[in-house]
């Protein structure tokens, strides 16, 4: 048996995984990253629009700070987020942008003086400050009070991933490309690494590690219509689930992005609307102000997506041969802006739609976009139930997004969580008590089990077609577990998915080679994906309320009294359903007690503790009137000690200079 030993095994070579790896390596630990694809091909590259961090350099971002970013993120999450984690995140995000600026990301920069921008369909001249010239620029994004999204033209994720991957190469971190973790090695509540399959040779190998980090991204491919890359199948989350010990949090919280191009589902960035683009209907009429007078096109994604589908349901969709859609009009931004700041959008329109967005409107319809749920972790990124297993980025439920993520907070999470979790992984590996002392036999047992499973698929007499099962699953998820959900649809989705899961145990392959066999890969993955799909559908069926991206037509109100809690899913052996349990959120510890988000439905059921906590918070703010915002925050919900030491401390801004400036 082949065994690779390392201190830290990172599963997934996107932004989060690379940053975790770099962090641990800098602290002196050996790191191996395994990745389905060369790291620069990871789905992180698809984040076009930008990364939120409250630098407040541009004039429309003036006055921005951690507090404003915190409130936007919690409101965006529909109060589903862990507010302490959100605080850790917003305080680290400016540091992450500045670290990446030092590492080589060519962030777009502020140019002093006048410039013309489009705000609410009007041309407006804004004047950037002299003292901001050359600092990292920010653009507007949905669900934010200030312009906070730092960007690199419209290739932000690409540029970040280039730099991060380059720095991982500089740090001599090996990346085992075209390999896939198919099972975690664990015993008595402790994770010891993974069984890894070489996708070229088919060979299995045990990777034994002190700490294992799952950074494998989201699970968009559970759906037929998704913006996600084809590798986003959630396998990292699924192998955590299959331990029966680790839990997945809030899998029913799936985000739909308002502007997938129709019908292919390829993303065009939120930056289109942030920069002034409008949504229009079959009559060429701008409809979002009718529904969302405050934020219009720039309400949070869950709200805009629902309003679009609502408008289509009223018969206002445009039609083409593939079905109904709406229009994204960015023509008002002008050729220079589009070809310069939104060039990827121009390329996508040109190549996939054969249209020119300088002159033509873009056909769009919401498409599955982001997995808020994932491997449940504590604030350090470690699984509370499976020691030595960490997770970061989209694969994790850390949980800073709750039931809806804000645009620009995902690439931000990847690097911020990478920085924080990387330190905690290193702390974990520093402790002698966490040395690996398992017998080789344990790794061998796991490897044999996986080998037997794959051999069974290759040589068995099964009759089910793996690709067909996968297509059925994707169709069910898109049709019944989508933007608008109803109890009866969800119940039938759960039934049908269970049947597919049972059938997936009887897959037969047409192509029997053991090496690089795409059909075999589809077969073992679809077995895992069906479990994830059931976590989503069953979690959605059980949650009889609406919160963030989870919208139940039969239970349209957010119900804090009964549902201000996180769904936790575990999977036991041969079950056909996950076991669900719930982790309540403590209103009495919240810095921002639940309320109206500022957009979307105003109607919700309060938690019994909310009025008292809201009164406490108000009283405390009054008592401390005149105190610094940091002191007030500290009094409301202390979090500073939760951050690794080197990431603590304030962030300097033009309007918040450090006193002892060198």
């Amino acid at each position: 048996m082949k065994i690779v030993y390392t201190d830290v095994l990172v599963i997934g070579g996107g932004l989060a995984g690379l940053r975790v790896g770099i962090g641990a390596k800098r602290r002196g630990h050996d790191v191996v990253i395994i990745s389905l694809v060369p790291p620069k091909r990871s789905h992180s590259a698809a984040a076009q629009g930008g990364m939120q961090a409250s630098l407040g350099n541009v004039i429309k971002g003036q006055g921005d700070n951690e507090d404003v970013h915190f409130e936007d993120t919690v409101r965006g999450s529909d109060w589903g987020a862990d507010q302490r984690v959100v605080r850790m995140f917003v305080n680290t995000a400016p540091k992450a942008v500045r670290e990446l600026a030092a590492w080589g990301v060519p962030w777009s920069r502020v140019r002093k003086g006048d410039r013309e921008v489009i705000i609410n369909n009007q041309k407006v001249t804004i004047t950037e400050r002299d003292e901001a010239h050359g600092l990292v620029a920010q653009r507007d994004f949905g669900g934010t009070k200030k312009w906070r999204t730092c960007y690199v033209s419209d290739g932000t994720g690409h540029a970040m991933l280039q730099t991060m991957s380059d720095q991982a190469i500089a740090a001599a971190i090996p990346v085992h490309e075209r390999t896939e973790a198919i099972s975690l090695i664990h015993d008595a509540g402790r994770c010891y690494g993974a069984i890894v399959r070489d996708l070229v040779t088919g060979e299995l190998c045990a990777y034994v590690a002190k700490a294992t980090a799952i950074t494998s991204g989201g699970a968009g491919r559970l759906y037929r219509v998704t913006t996600n890359a084809v590798i986003c199948e959630g396998i990292g989350s699924a192998i955590a689930l299959e331990t029966g010990v680790a839990t997945l949090g809030n899998m029913e919280a799936m985000q739909f992005h308002p502007t997938g191009i129709f019908p292919a589902g390829i993303l065009v960035t939120e930056g289109c609307r942030g920069d002034g683009g409008l949504l229009k209907d079959v009559d060429g009429r701008r409809f979002m102000p009718d529904y969302e007078p405050e934020k219009k096109e720039l309400a949070s994604r869950d709200v805009v997506s629902r309003r679009m589908e609502e408008h289509i349901a009223k018969g206002k969709g445009a039609k083409n041969r593939f079905g109904e859609h709406l229009w994204l009009d960015i023509t008002l931004l002008g050729e220079k802006h589009i070809k310069h700041n939104l060039r990827e959008v121009w390329e996508i329109c040109h190549h996939f739609l054969g249209i020119d967005p300088v002159k033509d409107w873009i056909p769009v319809r919401p498409a599955m976009h982001y997995t808020m749920g994932g491997v449940r972790t504590d604030y350090t990124g470690q699984s509370p139930t499976l020691k030595g297993l960490f997770a970061a980025g989209e694969a994790a439920c850390w949980d800073m997004h709750g039931f809806n993520r804000l645009g620009g907070n995902s690439v931000a999470e990847t690097v911020v969580a990478g920085m924080i979790v990387g330190e905690y992984v290193a702390d974990f590996c520093d402790k002698a008590a966490n040395d690996v002392d398992i017998p080789t036999k344990l790794a061998q047992e796991f490897l044999r089990r996986e080998q037997a499973h794959l051999s069974g698929l290759l040589t068995g007499s099964g009759t089910e077609d793996a690709a067909a099962l996968k297509a059925s699953m994707q169709e069910i998820m898109t049709a019944k577990v989508g933007i608008f959900r109803r109890g009866e649809d969800l119940a039938s989705a759960v039934d049908e998915l269970q049947q597919l899961l049972v059938r997936s145990r009887n897959i037969g392959l047409k192509y029997k080679a053991g090496g690089s066999n795409p059909e075999l890969v589809t077969a073992y993955r679809v077995q895992k994906m069906l479990k994830l799909a059931l976590c989503v559908a069953y979690g959605a069926l059980t949650r009889t309320e609406s919160r963030g991206a989870h919208f139940r037509q039969d239970h349209p109100r957010r119900n804090d009294a009964e549902w201000l809690k996180r769904t936790l899913a575990t999977w036991r052996g041969d079950a056909t359903l996950p076991t669900l349990s719930y982790e309540p959120l403590d209103v009495r510890a919240m810095e921002l007690p639940p309320g109206w988000r500022g957009y979307g439905a105003k109607d919700y059921v309060d938690h019994p503790d909310t009025p008292a906590r809201a009164a406490d918070v108000e009283a405390l703010k009054q008592r401390m009137a005149g105190a610094s915002r940091f002191a007030v925050q500290e009094a409301l919900m202390p979090y500073g000690a939760l951050l690794p030491e080197r990431l603590r401390g304030r962030n300097e801004r033009i309007d918040e200079r450090f006193e002892a400036a060198e």
């Binding site: 694809v37 060369p38 620069k40 091909r41 590259a45 698809a46 630098l55 942008v97 500045r98 670290e99 030092a102 080589g104 060519p106 777009s108 920069r109 010239h133 600092l135 990292v136 690199v152 033209s153 290739g155 690409h158 540029a159 280039q162 730099t163 380059d166 720095q167 190469i169 500089a170 990346v175 075209r178 070229v200 040779t201 219509v225 890359a229 084809v230 019908p263 292919a264 390829i266 041969r321 593939f322 079905g323 190549h351 996939f352 690709a467 039934d495 049908e496 269970q498 049947q499 392959l509 047409k510 192509y511 090496g515 690089s516 066999n517 795409p518 059909e519 401390g649 300097e652 450090f658």
Partner: protein
């Protein structure tokens, strides 16, 4: 459980077709599996009915799902941004995911990118080569201060310069430039336009501590900038329209100057 329900899958690209007859495509694929000692390179032809909006991503997946489960190819983003799916399409290296079949004749010939190690059929190992190139050229920003204070305001950069650096940073390492390169055919250690563009990108970046002497050390020979014969196929095939010809000429001038100054 409810009784089993058969869900009929209609690809979005075929739903609600406009009734017009679709073309019959013949897709010829150069096949070989180096993992299999019995495999010999051969052409295999698949008959595919064209659909509205069909890309080679859609066509190849349809072949694999319905006709031939063994066919190997690589797609990741399927949106033209990740560089995974470069292959030779009717003689020209380009990205398959954003190639619409309607822009091709009915006879379509697909081959893996030359130069790179073949994994199987249309799949080649660009990743290993790119990492090796990057290690050789030290293709990362060499920080002047390795431990910057990230709580302080970031260093300023001229907005136009930031845009220029991004222009060169747009490379997706798809490998088309190397596959189309005459020099690479003769010199297997040639760093290619991708490598030279990478060096040009860091040279342009004031945050990088290196000097022209350092760059000369890594590209000042025939496997570097002096190996280029200016055939410019790299420039012609680059799916991101990077200004490769200009960059290579510019780097060559700088490196010549460097050599004379020695």
């Amino acid at each position: 459980m409810n009784t089993a329900k058969v869900v009929k899958i209609v690809p979005a690209s075929q739903a609600g077709g406009n009734g017009a007859a679709h073309r019959a495509l013949k897709i010829h694929v150069l096949r070989h599996n180096p993992q299999d000692p019995a495999s010999v390179p051969r052409m295999q032809t698949y008959d595919v009915e064209e659909a509205d909006g069909m890309t080679l991503f859609i066509a190849l997946n349809e072949i694999r799902e319905k006709m031939d489960a063994s066919l190997q190819f690589d797609f990741v983003c399927r949106a033209g941004i990740c560089g995974s799916c470069a292959m030779v399409i009717n003689g020209r290296p380009t990205l398959a995911c954003r190639t619409l079949t309607k822009n091709l004749p009915t006879e379509i010939t697909l081959a893996p990118l030359p130069f790179f190690e073949l994994i199987g059929d249309l799949s080649v190992d660009t990743g290993k080569w790119m990492r090796g190139m990057s290690e050789r050229l030290e293709g990362w920003l060499h920080m002047k201060d390795p431990n910057p204070d990230i709580s302080r305001i970031e260093e300023r950069m001229d907005p136009d310069l930031a845009d220029k650096i991004y222009e060169l940073d747009r490379c997706i390492e798809c490998g088309c430039c190397v596959a189309a390169c005459g020099t690479a055919r003769m010199r297997e250690d040639f760093v290619g336009a991708v490598g030279l563009n990478r060096v040009a990108r860091f040279r342009l970046d004031p945050r990088d501590a290196r000097t022209d002497a350092d760059y000369y050390d890594v590209i000042g020979d025939d496997n570097g900038v002096f190996g280029c014969m200016s055939l410019l196929a790299c420039h012609d095939v680059c799916p991101k329209n990077l200004p490769l010809a200009t960059q290579i000429a510019f780097m060559r001038r700088k490196m010549v100057k460097m050599a004379w100054g020695k």
